[in-house]
């Protein structure tokens, strides 16, 4: 009779793992990736490929050099690379894509201890690093269907006081200037529905984030169309659905996630209307990332029959 295995309970585990979660995020980003290729051509596909490859290779090399367990298998580096690529305009130089991805993975994630230990979202911070370092990352590129070359995103145009904007239908399907993955609202919402159905994210964060921006824009502009442009323009949807729902850098409890989303919405509107940048989604998420531990503490639930957490 062979020896029995002894361990403490439980003896049963869910089959959801970090890898399946990250795989679901990649699947949810497929429609947006496909849309980016449709609207911005093969250049977009090339950028996606380069960003994902450099993110994965950077993490693999980091683990080898630092003699840490190999973690690229959990697919989180691929998610970071893909998200970063989708947040860049098509005119970004390919070497800049490599630098941005490596910065996101090495500086923002690995140096803080790897997956689960970074305090800021790697893709967002990588994008902000590139925005500040390389002029080309600011603004957007025109889609392959554009008849005139403007290079301006709708939000930049609104900020500059221009009135020649793409139609709302074009905004919805993604035929407008911007970062390659942020323009097609329909593709992003498909991803959102998939993630909620797969229980990877809760619906609250994206809905509250986008809702706050919509309501505040409505209050400020007193105009429904203008508010809709604020919702569909810029990186709001991709940010709210894929970046503000990052596990590692947001509060762990559901109430905290709601407060986080509300804060993101308010800061986005402040930057868009009164800041010097036309777009504020990245900055708002980064700022709220920093506040996350405090929000988490304030929003901790009272245990059943216990005292309010001290």
């Amino acid at each position: 009779m062979e020896k029995l295995i002894i361990s403490t309970s439980p003896h049963l585990y869910t089959n959801v793992t970090t890898k399946t979660v990250m795989r679901d995020v990649l699947i949810a980003l497929l429609p947006a990736t496909a849309a980016s290729v449709v609207f911005f051509g093969l250049r977009a596909a090339l950028m996606v490929l380069i960003c994902v490859a450099s993110a994965v290779i950077a993490e693999a090399l980091f683990c080898i050099i630092c003699k840490r367990p190999q973690t690229v298998g959990d697919l989180s580096a691929a998610v970071t690379g893909l998200l970063l690529a989708l947040n860049l305009p098509a005119k970004t130089a390919l070497w800049q894509c490599v630098v941005g991805s490596v910065f996101a993975i090495i500086v923002v994630k690995c140096l803080f201890g790897g997956i689960g230990c970074n305090f800021a979202n790697p893709a967002i911070t990588g994008r902000i690093f590139m925005l500040i370092s390389f002029g080309a990352v600011a603004g957007g590129s025109d889609t392959v269907f554009a008849d005139t070359v403007s290079g301006a995103t709708p939000l930049a145009a609104i900020k500059a006081g221009e009135t020649d904007l793409p139609s709302l239908t074009d905004m919805l399907i993604g035929n407008r200037g911007g970062a390659i993955g942020e323009t097609c609202a329909i593709a992003l919402i498909l991803g959102f529905v998939y993630l909620v159905l797969r229980k990877v994210i809760h619906w609250e964060t994206p809905v509250i984030f986008v809702g706050t921006v919509f309501v505040l824009s409505l209050l400020v502009k007193q105009d429904l169309t203008a508010a809709l442009y604020q919702v569909l323009g810029g990186g709001l949807l991709i940010g709210a659905i894929f970046m503000a729902t990052d596990y590692v850098t947001t509060p762990i409890n559901r109430a905290g996630k709601c407060v986080f989303a509300l804060g993101c919405g308010i800061i986005t509107v402040l930057i868009r209307f009164w800041g010097s940048y036309p777009e504020g989604v990245s900055f708002s998420i980064l700022i709220m990332n920093i506040l996350s531990p405090y929000i988490e503490k304030w929003c901790a639930k009272k245990p059943l029959g216990g005292a309010k957490n001290v």
């Binding site: 361990s7 309970s9 869910t14 793992t17 979660v21 997956i115 230990c117 996630k257 059943l304 957490n309």
Partner: protein
């Protein structure tokens, strides 16, 4: 519906393969092994010696303290050995080996007890050796004694049976409904302060809910409540909350809030004891798990070797090999070291898992996803315990652990079950609880 949110939201698979199988009474094994610690509290004290003739129901160990329970012989035959053995909780205690003569002659002294008021009910339950048959094994008489101060208004009968595989309570409710009904009558007749008796049953046991609702349809004091079929409905504080809306404060017992919780099989046993006077000497249990060839429910004398009940369930499935054998179900079950260990009073199931299902998956880094926080029925944050445990200075560590309220954790295992990184969350909780309890006890002695 009840004005509050149901606690418990973890979709643990049910796997109630044996729900439609009434328990089969197995032929008596040639030998039984009776540990004197089959309950929470002080081990019982052996009162027989090697060579003694015993019959079914003969007292072989008397209660070893206020919180304890006597143990009775489960077969007729001869005591062959009394030895120190490790019992399920790691304690070294006496164990009595009895060789069966196969006749199952009942002890002549056995007569139905006289139960006419609360004191006589408690006394009878104490003498019967009854312990919580849901698995925890808290001496039932001690629980009922709480009713003496007159504040017990509600008795919750726990028929949730939320663990995967286990259907022994289901079968008790369906096959021994008369005992359940008589047990309720005993409680209502002898506990005058009790205003209501609430059955809590998971909604996947529709048949049990219907049968009991029908049986109690004329009794306004008895309610049968369907609970969501989500783990851990059967946990004591969860079922109290989900049936009555009362949140039992940390460190207190439900009795201090006017509620007693009894497992439905315990209730049925008390009723059978009241009718026959035969102490707790047999056990109905489910034998299932990925390694079992023919899962079934069986009734055996307490002390029957696990290997014997596994053989009775068709043995090990072809192509599988035994990896883990558990007392209870896979969520809270305790591993046995060998299949020679006996069935205990508290053994509601023997779960035998294939080697493939036995090794815990490799752990990876916490990704802060919050699944454990969302799953915890007590609204704790399991990630905090690990962080608090890592604090270097003992005083700081204890202060941090106290702030996390880790002592509220009842180790249901939801956090570890849902964790996509397979963190040893509940293992951390156990270490944290043990260290904090020790520390608090030490502080208390320093004060005195």
């Amino acid at each position: 519906m009840f004005g509050f949110k149901f606690l418990g939201n973890t979709p643990v698979p049910h796997r109630k393969n044996t729900a439609a199988m009434p328990a089969v009474r197995l032929p008596v094994h040639k030998e039984v092994l009776l540990h004197v610690a089959q309950h929470i509290g002080a081990p019982a004290k052996v009162v027989v010696k090697v060579g003694d003739e015993v019959k079914v129901g003969t007292l072989i160990a008397e209660a070893g303290g206020a919180v304890s329970a006597p143990v009775h012989s489960s077969v007729s035959g001869k005591v062959t050995k009394i030895e120190k053995l490790m019992c399920y909780n790691g304690q070294q205690v006496d164990a009595v080996r009895i060789e069966s003569d196969g006749l199952m002659t009942a002890d002549e002294s056995i007569t139905p007890p006289d139960i006419h008021d609360l004191d006589s009910l408690i006394e009878a339950v104490r003498a019967s050796g009854a312990v919580g048959l849901g698995g925890a094994g808290f001496p039932t008489a001690v629980k009922l004694a709480a009713a003496k101060n007159g504040n017990i208004k509600t008795v919750v009968i726990n028929g949730a049976e939320c663990e995967p595989y286990i259907t022994s309570d289901t079968r008790t409710m369906l096959d021994d409904t008369d005992s359940v009904v008589y047990g309720v009558k005993l409680l209502l007749d002898n506990m005058p302060t009790v205003e209501q008796i609430i059955f809590g049953i998971e909604s996947n046991k529709r048949e049990c809910i219907n049968k009991l609702s029908e049986a109690f349809k004329d009794n306004a004091k008895v309610k049968v409540k369907a609970l969501p079929a989500l783990y851990p409905q059967g946990s004591e504080k969860v079922i109290v909350h989900n049936t009555t809306g009362i949140a039992v404060p940390t460190g207190k017992l439900p009795a201090e809030c006017g509620v007693i919780v009894l497992n439905v099989s315990t209730l049925a046993f008390i009723a059978r004891y009241a009718k026959t006077g035969m102490p707790l000497v047999e056990r109905t249990l489910t034998v299932d798990g990925s390694a079992i060839a023919e899962p079934k429910n069986v009734t055996v004398p307490v002390g029957t070797p696990i290997s014997y009940v596994i053989e009775a369930a068709g043995g090990i499935k072809d192509g599988k090999s035994l990896g883990k054998v558990l007392y209870g179900g896979p969520m809270m079950g305790v591993c046995v070291c060998t299949v020679d260990d006996p069935v205990l009073k508290t053994t509601n199931a023997i779960t035998a898992l294939d080697v493939k299902d036995s090794n815990p998956p490799a752990e990876t880094a916490c990704i802060h996803c919050g699944r454990c926080v969302a799953a915890c029925p007590h609204s704790l944050n399991p990630t905090e315990f690990a962080r608090a445990l890592n604090v270097e200075i003992k005083e700081d560590r204890m202060a941090k652990l106290q702030a996390t309220q880790v002592l509220s954790c009842m180790e249901c295992g939801c956090c570890s079950f849902v964790c996509p990184a397979h963190r040893p969350l509940i293992q951390n909780n156990r270490i944290a609880k043990a260290e904090l309890k020790d520390y608090l006890a030490h502080q208390a002695t320093l004060k005195n």
